[in-house]
């Protein structure tokens, strides 16, 4: 039998009146990195924690490798699944090696303790107690414990939140290696760059629902052949209105958010030139003008009118 690592239908989770997950369908094929992208409170964590067997869904069906939770197969599923939960603090007073060894002991098969430590690049810290580690090192210990049973499916819940760029990249490498070795990953994140780099498929969540899905490329392309110009208005002649820019044929859309103007144009360089020309003609002095290609963040903005990360 070749059941997919994850398949769920009409998954709903309610806490009293509050709907955390509002009926989602998911299928994750073996060997891919699947990203659940969305802002805080979108229902990503609730979804993965249901999949991990921590919460029972209010309604809907859910199968991991073809099996459901709570019908006597739980141990079997858990042996195939590795989990990194959001902000778990492992035992402070134990060393890295002791923590990894403890978690390794729970699984039937899997890599050697030393190999796990090597895999997450913590050889030098193996004898250090957990509480003395940096945030990035702690996350890598957590990753080592998630990999301890040589899982077929790995859940990573916001693995790089709060980490510095170097620590994030180190972690990404380990995750990429796992996928290259044939593992399946379900990753939640609110970083679009993380999703773009790691994920083969993405489901964008907001308010408990999946509002878009596809590959990072196809999601970006869904916006059309566009790029964005952003700037602040330094000075403008009296009586100027933004809508005046809209009349330029190269400009598809003009928006303002928090004092910053965002202009959507098509991808051609001539379109960019036309915008600058239009600004000049209108005697607008732009500050901090930048252009960028469409990203997943723009997709999210387009779909919800909100930004993924408020910066």
């Amino acid at each position: 039998m070749n059941a997919p690592p994850i398949r769920c239908e009409k998954l709903v989770k309610r806490y009293g009146d509050k709907v955390a997950v509002a009926g989602i369908d998911l299928e994750v094929r073996a060997g891919i990195c699947f990203g659940l992208l969305g802002p805080n409170g979108a229902g990503k964590t609730t979804t993965v924690e249901m999949l991990e067997g921590l919460h029972a869904p209010t309604s809907g069906t859910m199968r991991l490798f073809g099996e459901s939770w709570g019908i006597g197969k739980d141990q079997w599923i858990r042996d195939k699944v590795g989990v990194q939960l959001q902000d778990t603090q492992l035992a402070d007073k134990l060393t890295v090696r002791e923590v990894v060894r403890l978690f390794r002991s729970f699984y039937q098969g899997g890599k050697d303790v030393e190999e796990l430590i090597r895999l997450v690049h913590l050889e030098a810290e193996a004898e250090q107690k957990f509480h003395t580690l940096s945030g990035g090192q702690k996350q890598r210990v957590a990753l080592a414990t998630a990999l301890a049973g040589a899982p077929d499916l790995l859940f990573l819940d916001e693995p790089t939140t709060g980490l510095d760029p170097r620590a994030r990249q180190t972690l990404w490498k380990v995750v990429e290696q796992f996928r290259e070795d044939g593992g399946t990953i379900v990753l939640t994140t609110h970083y679009m760059d993380e999703a773009a780099i790691l994920c083969d498929e993405i489901a964008v969540m907001d308010l408990g629902q999946i509002i878009a899905r596809g590959t990072p490329r196809s999601l970006v392309d869904s916006l059309g052949d566009v790029q964005f110009v952003e700037f602040e208005v330094g000075s403008a002649p009296p009586g100027f209105e933004l809508a005046q820019l809209q009349s330029e044929p190269a400009i598809q859309k003009v928006e303002e958010r928090r004092g910053r103007i965002r202009v959507t144009i098509d991808r051609a360089l001539t379109a960019l030139a036309a915008v600058i020309e239009a600004l000049e003609k209108a005697q607008i002095v732009p500050i901090g003008l930048s252009t960028h290609q469409a990203t997943l963040d723009d997709v999210f903005l387009h779909l919800t009118g909100k930004q993924l990360v408020d910066d």
Binding site: R78, L85, L102, F106, D112
Partner: protein, 349 residues
Amino acid sequence: MTERLNPLAQLVLARLREFWREPGIVFWVFGFPLLMALGLGLAFRSKTPARPLVAVVLVDDSASVAKLSETLGRAPELQARVLPADEAFRALTRAKVDVVVELSNQGAHYRFDPTQDKSPIAKMVVDGVLQRASGRIDPLSSREDVVSEPGARYIDFLMPGLIAMNVMGSSMWGVGYNLVVARKRKLLRRYAVTPMRRSHFLLSYFFSRALFLVLELGVLLGFGKLVFGCTIQGHLTTFLLIGFLGAGAFAGISLLIGARIQNTEAANGWMNLLQLPMWVLSGTFFSYERFPAFLHLPIELLPLTALVNAMRAVFNDGAGLLQLGFPLAVLAVWGGAGFALALKWFRWQ
């Protein structure tokens, strides 16, 4: 070359390491009871009972009065001082002396306050000395033996009580509080998503408690013997068995507290709320017989009372298990009920 790791052994090891690497906990489990035993043992060490204090007032200036006064001054069973009358009476009203004796040619005149415990005895002691000095011959011969055996001192009473209290404390904090901390740190749910057997997790607490119990009992018993010469009158194995049952009972109660509580402050409150009354009521420091009689049965149903009574019976009276049916049953019921409810209500998150 992959070594096969035993999950239960690893869990027990983790628990032992966490304990040893937390100096605060080590102090509360080992240091605190030792200091307590030392302090209380020294404060209430057996001392020779204080001799009655006697103020002597010489009413007549005669040779016979002087001789009687001298006899009192030499008597080893009391402390006599000659004082002017007004000073002697002032000393009596301020309880600085137990009795005032006025010696005159007519005889002795005692003044004392019968509501002061020691005064009537002091009067009898003084009278006895004076009567014998004046020629009284006691018709009945009598002998005295002073009793101060190990096993009858306050420290002998205290030691098993302290050990029982310690077993309670370390089981309560070591199991329930530890669980709440692990739940708060989301460590419990991390375990819950592994194939770790739930029974192994529970057993790891059981085994680590049992190991530490042997250590705790060893340290406290050894200390009592070395410093105060306290010895167990009954069998050591009986004492250990009771210790295990007690630790198990409190572990059950503690597991129940730790079954659901999310935050350490609430856990702290519950731990103290449950333990504090028992520190006072259960007869650790003084016999609960001092409380009104209608309270005795409720107090005896408390788990700490049961453990203290059972340990004291073995420690001081050499009792065997068969004589301890009631307290052991009380412990078993507490422990069993605690475990059963805890397993029913336990939450991993």
